[in-house]
């Protein structure tokens, strides 16, 4: 049985990570569409992040270190957007506590940690708290794919 060199295997794995990144972008876009995630400017942030990640994916596939570096920076920006998304979803849930009939009269009297826990664990509010983390996961895949040199071997 003919085994590929470790270098070839690494290249295959990294290309696979890029493919997973592309699938992740498409899946996240489909999910956002399903949620009708465009009510107001803030809900457009993940759409922008997906567009940035798509550009980053193309950049890491291009030959040249500059393009790859730019792709990495863009992927890191998407990671930051992902963290922002998680925080924003928790805040939305927190602000929704008083609207929930179970807490309409008592929300403001609950201890602060309890309120934040209810918001973070989505016991109040409509926002899936950690769903924006999918963006971060996809960006992380792309970052991993850039470790170890260019994805297209130089032709001699």
């Amino acid at each position: 049985m003919n085994r590929g060199s470790p270098r070839d295997t690494g290249l295959l794995v990294r290309r696979g990570l890029v493919a997973l990144t592309a699938i992740g972008i498409a899946a996240a876009a489909f999910e956002l569409y399903g949620e009708r995630h465009w009510n107001g400017p803030e809900q457009l942030v993940p759409w922008a992040a997906l567009a940035v990640l798509a550009v980053a994916t193309v950049l890491v596939l291009l030959p040249g270190g500059a393009a790859r570096t730019t792709g990495r920076v863009l992927a890191l920006l998407v990671l930051a957007a992902s963290v922002y998304g998680v925080a924003d979803h928790i805040l939305v849930n927190y602000d929704s506590g008083a609207l929930d009939q179970r807490f309409a009269d008592s929300w403001d009297t609950l201890p602060m940690p309890t309120r934040w826990w209810y918001a973070a664990s989505k016991q109040v509010g409509p926002a899936p708290t950690l769903a924006p983390g999918v963006l971060g996961q996809t960006a992380a895949l792309l970052l991993l794919a850039t470790i170890g040199g260019p994805l297209r071997p130089t032709v001699r």
Binding site: L79, S82, Q101, T129, G136, L144
Partner: protein, 134 residues
């Protein structure tokens, strides 16, 4: 090679953070739909929690309807307040956020579906809708 080695900690750190967040995100995302439907069903089940006397006020407020599609947030807030809705400013935000509403649906089904995510109770939703027209 030295460059790669020097960048590895940064990449690994960012990756670890993202994987943790995303791993949880997938689970939470999967829970989102049932959670929303649970909220909706809970709101229906617990509708008796709201004071039935307040529901009677709906009739009194019925004459002061404003358009959910075109009225300003302040106007909607005033109308909701007159209808006896608690937190009228906050609910007015939600009404504006989920625009537009079909003109052919006087029952504002789209608004009802979106408000149910907040588990406000059937009576509160009825009060809100009673103050609005498409």
């Amino acid at each position: 090679m030295t460059t790669i080695a020097s960048r590895l900690p940064l990449l690994c750190g960012a990756t670890a953070l993202a994987v943790v967040l995303a791993g949880c995100g997938g689970t939470t995302s999967a829970r989102a739909a049932p959670s929303a439907s649970t909220a909706a069903s809970t709101s229906a089940d617990d509708s008796t929690i709201d004071d039935s006397d307040e529901a009677a006020d709906d009739t009194a407020a019925a004459g002061a309807k404003v358009s959910a599609n075109t009225a300003s947030e302040d106007e909607i807030s005033d109308a909701l307040e007159q209808a006896g809705v608690n937190n009228p400013e906050r609910w007015a935000e939600e009404v504006v956020e989920y625009r537009p509403y079909p003109a052919t649906d006087p029952n504002l089904t789209k608004l009802r579906d979106n408000l149910a995510k907040y588990n406000p109770g059937q009576t509160t939703v009825d009060k809100i809708v009673s103050a609005l027209t498409p």
